[in-house]
């Protein structure tokens, strides 16, 4: 009898349409993977279009890549991988049913994820000062040094110093090719869609933290945390493809 009291009643955690919690867990996991399959196709449309245009206008797209701050992208890659690491710890905490640890690691994931978004916004700001934003201020002529502002000029100086030390010379064009706008459009749409996924993810994590605060998760039932972990890692992987495609293809 004492043992029966210790074991939580499985039925309180199983929704009425399921036979048991294993069926429920399998359904939840398969549902999430199916959703991620749709996400692959969603981003796939963008990657395919990007690849086709890159093939069509190799030099314009390369010039676009040269206008990217690759080191900010690299830092962001590390930041995002760190957030995925904390997410993995949160899922682990859920598997052993520790609500306080779930909260701790989800908060860390949110903090690091927000750092990513901050760096991203900084990049957008630099792009704006450099007159790279289509429909807003894109110009084929590069802005004069005094138009850039001190913050952006610092990055520009570093770029100049770095690019002068690589061999073979990368050959940054004095005047931007017109088709570079296509690259910039892809850059903003792809990173924008990715950032939107992160913002939605952060909103979901706030809900999960609230649920964990109410001690809703246990070793027996923690499907939301586990499924959300899949989502967060997926968003991370998308960035792992975006980063080389947009920042690293620099050589002529």
């Amino acid at each position: 009898m004492a043992e029966d009291l210790v074991i939580e009643s499985p039925h309180s955690l199983v929704e009425h349409q399921f036979e048991d919690r294993f069926q429920q867990k399998e359904a939840a996991t398969l549902g999430m993977w199916t959703f991620l399959a749709t996400e692959v196709l969603f981003f796939g449309g963008l990657f395919v279009s990007y690849t086709i245009y890159r093939h069509q206008y190799p030099e314009a797209f390369r010039q676009g890549t040269l206008d990217m701050k690759w080191y900010l992208g690299a830092i962001n890659t590390a930041v995002l991988l760190l957030s995925s690491f904390f997410m993995a710890l949160a899922v682990r905490a859920a598997a052993v049913g520790s609500n306080p640890k779930i909260i701790r690691y989800l908060v860390l994931t949110i903090v690091v994820g927000s750092l990513f978004l901050c760096i991203k916004v900084t990049e957008y700001y630099i792009d704006y000062r450099e007159r790279l934003v289509p429909a807003l201020n894109f110009s084929e002529a590069r802005p004069r040094e005094d138009e850039l502002g001190g913050f952006t000029r610092t990055f520009d100086k570093f770029d100049e110093w770095f690019d002068s030390h690589v061999s073979p010379p990368i050959g940054k064009a004095a005047v931007r090719p017109r088709n570079e706008q296509l690259f910039m459009l892809f850059y903003f749409i792809m990173t924008g869609v990715h950032a939107t996924h992160m913002i939605i993810g952060i909103a979901v994590m706030l809900v999960l933290i609230w649920m964990a605060h109410r001690r809703r998760f246990s070793a027996e039932w923690h499907n939301p945390v586990e499924c959300f972990g899949l989502y967060w890692h997926f968003v991370d992987i998308v960035w792992v493809f975006l980063f080389p495609a947009l920042y690293l293809l620099r050589n002529p």
């Binding site: 036979e19 549902g31 196709l41 969603f42 459009l185 869609v193």
Partner: protein, 548 residues
């Protein structure tokens, strides 16, 4: 002590509790998670949208009565065919059978209490309603004139109608589709009753499974394409903009990557309905169960590889034209397998010509015609002449109306007793099936001829020699309208005055027919255990075969 038996004696005889009478408040319907009620909510919504889309068709047909066009402004005509196309595709044909009968029947057929994610199911209906409100707002604000295909750069850079709002509506509609498809896939994988193996699954479920794969894998590509169009329309600059070196043909590739598979979303569920109805009314096992099941999957798969046959004259290379032409022929193979299987099922069956069967026989003929003309259009050389003529219009209406809508109506008439517990008038059912068949052919057969003679589609006016075909077509459309209104009347009539159907008026097999009609909220008192193959009509007692 004696009080207890006494109380139970005076209690009046209880009406059996069903999903319809379990609760009565509006709130209980709007917040329901019951797949059966959600199916009904969807049915009401898509019927309403069908009526508006049909209004667009009526405007088109009225305008084309005279060669100069009856509508004052050609732009008005453009808006009429756009609203007809957009609403029929995304707010009727795509959701038609999956969201209504798929929702209602899949859990019953696989022996489950509900779909895997009931809340998601309700959410997808709300998304659908929101998207419907948005697209109706587009109409209210003055319409859309791009055609349902949104071809760039017209839609993105030149059209002054409400493109951004319209693509937002379709984007949200797409989420509804994806959630429905996801729910079906997970439910069919994980919620089957003990003993319900994959090869005991009703063929309707196989068809809906293949449909769901397309929902899940094609819809997101449309979603991102529409995001790109919306951005381009809003900013008047974008990645399909030829001024920047962007490629409008890329838009067509992305669009048809969704929009070709979507025609299989519209027809595969009908294949599922046909398999259920043909076996029931021929009292036979299906000829080639596995062939029918796998051909659904094959259609879903090959359907992803044929999209550029819409673009033969858009400047794609002859080699890619050749490949897409051959792949388009290939998709005819699994489709023909199905038609042959149903025909062979009918062969030497004791065929009962009840209303659902009439619709399915009509579907088989009309769909075969639409399919064969589809093979003509997939022929590279021929398509150069036929492209953008009324021949194409006739072809896809034979497939989508002759296929999709006939299948939907067959399903309505077949499962009506299960859903409502009432019998409709068999006489009026047969009459309206006949009217629809006649009206449909009179509407669309002349369009084959006009198109073959070179009448282009999407024009407000036309050369006078085509008038006879257009008058015939408009006459047919008015007959078709009568055929669509009749079922609305006698089905609603049956709700109040119809006889009780009993659980299984057709003596059909399948788990859904083992429940009372209408089914209780929980579907099954106990989880059923399946121990026999499906469609064992040959083992049924002879008395059961006498269909009422």
């Amino acid at each position: 002590m004696t009080a207890i038996p006494f109380v139970s004696v005076v209690e009046p005889p209880r009406v059996r509790e069903t999903y319809l009478n379990a609760t009565h408040t509006l709130r209980s319907w709007l917040l329901t998670r019951d797949h059966k009620r959600i199916g009904i909510l969807y049915a009401l919504t898509i019927t309403f949208m069908f009526a508006i889309a049909a209004g667009g068709a009526a405007l088109v047909r009225i305008n084309l009565l005279t060669p100069t066009g009856i509508l004052d402004e050609p732009s008005m005509y453009n808006k009429a065919f756009t609203v007809h196309g957009v609403l029929m595709v995304w707010w009727f044909l795509v959701p038609s059978i999956p969201t209504t009968f798929g929702n209602f029947l899949i859990p019953l057929m696989i022996g489950a209490r509900d779909l895997a994610f009931p809340r998601l199911n309700l959410a997808s209906w709300y998304l659908f309603v929101i998207s419907a409100v948005l697209i109706l707002a587009v109409l209210f604000f003055g319409g859309l004139d791009t055609g349902w295909t949104f071809y760039t750069p017209y839609s993105s850079l030149f059209s002054n109608t409400h493109v951004t709002l319209a693509v937002t509506a379709i984007f949200i509609n797409g989420f509804s589709s994806i959630f429905t498809g996801l729910n079906f896939i997970v439910s069919i994988h994980k919620m089957r009753a003990p003993g319900m193996t994959w090869f005991r699954l009703p063929l309707f479920c196989w068809a809906l499974y293949a449909t769901s794969l397309i929902f899940v894998l094609a819809t997101p590509v449309l979603a991102i394409t529409l995001v790109l169009i919306g951005i381009e329309h809003l900013l008047r600059i974008g990645i399909f903009d030829p001024v920047l070196g962007g490629d409008p043909v890329l838009f067509q590739h992305l669009f048809w990557f969704y929009s070709h598979p979507v025609v299989y979303i519209q027809i595969l569920p009908t294949f599922g309905v046909a398999s259920e109805v043909v076996t029931c009314f021929a009292r036979k096992r299906p000829f080639g169960y596995a062939a029918i099941a796998f051909s659904s999957l094959a259609i879903a798969l090959i359907g992803f590889l044929v999209w550029a046959h819409h673009m033969f004259d858009a400047g794609i290379s002859p080699y890619s034209g050749l490949v897409f032409s051959i792949l388009s022929f290939a998709v005819a193979v699994p489709t023909a397998i199905k038609i042959f299987s149903w025909t062979a099922t009918l062969y030497k069956g004791s065929v009962a010509l009840e209303t659902p069967m009439l619709y399915i026989l009509g579907f088989m003929g009309l769909f075969t015609m639409g399919g064969l003309t589809g093979v003509m259009l997939a022929t590279l050389g021929l398509d150069m002449h036929m492209h953008d003529t009324y021949f194409v219009v006739a072809h896809f209406h034979y497939v989508m109306v002759g296929g999709g809508v006939m299948g939907y109506l067959a399903a309505v008439h077949f499962w009506w007793p299960k859903i409502t517990g009432k019998l409709y008038s068999e006489f009026w059912g047969k009459i309206s099936a006949a009217i629809i068949f006649i009206g449909f052919n009179l509407t669309f057969f002349p369009q084959y001829v006009a198109g073959y003679l070179g009448m282009p589609r999407r024009y407000h006016s036309y050369p006078p020699e085509f008038q006879v075909y257009n008058v015939l077509s408009t006459a047919g459309a008015s007959i078709l309208a009568v055929g669509y209104i009749l079922p609305l009347i006698y089905l609603l009539w049956s709700l109040k005055f119809g006889e009780d159907s009993g659980p299984n008026p057709w003596h059909a097999l399948g788990l859904e027919w083992t429940t009372p009609s209408p089914p209780p909220t929980e579907n099954f008192e106990e989880t059923p255990v399946v121990s026999a193959p499906p469609y064992a009509y040959d083992l049924q007692s002879p008395t059961a075969a006498a269909v009422t």
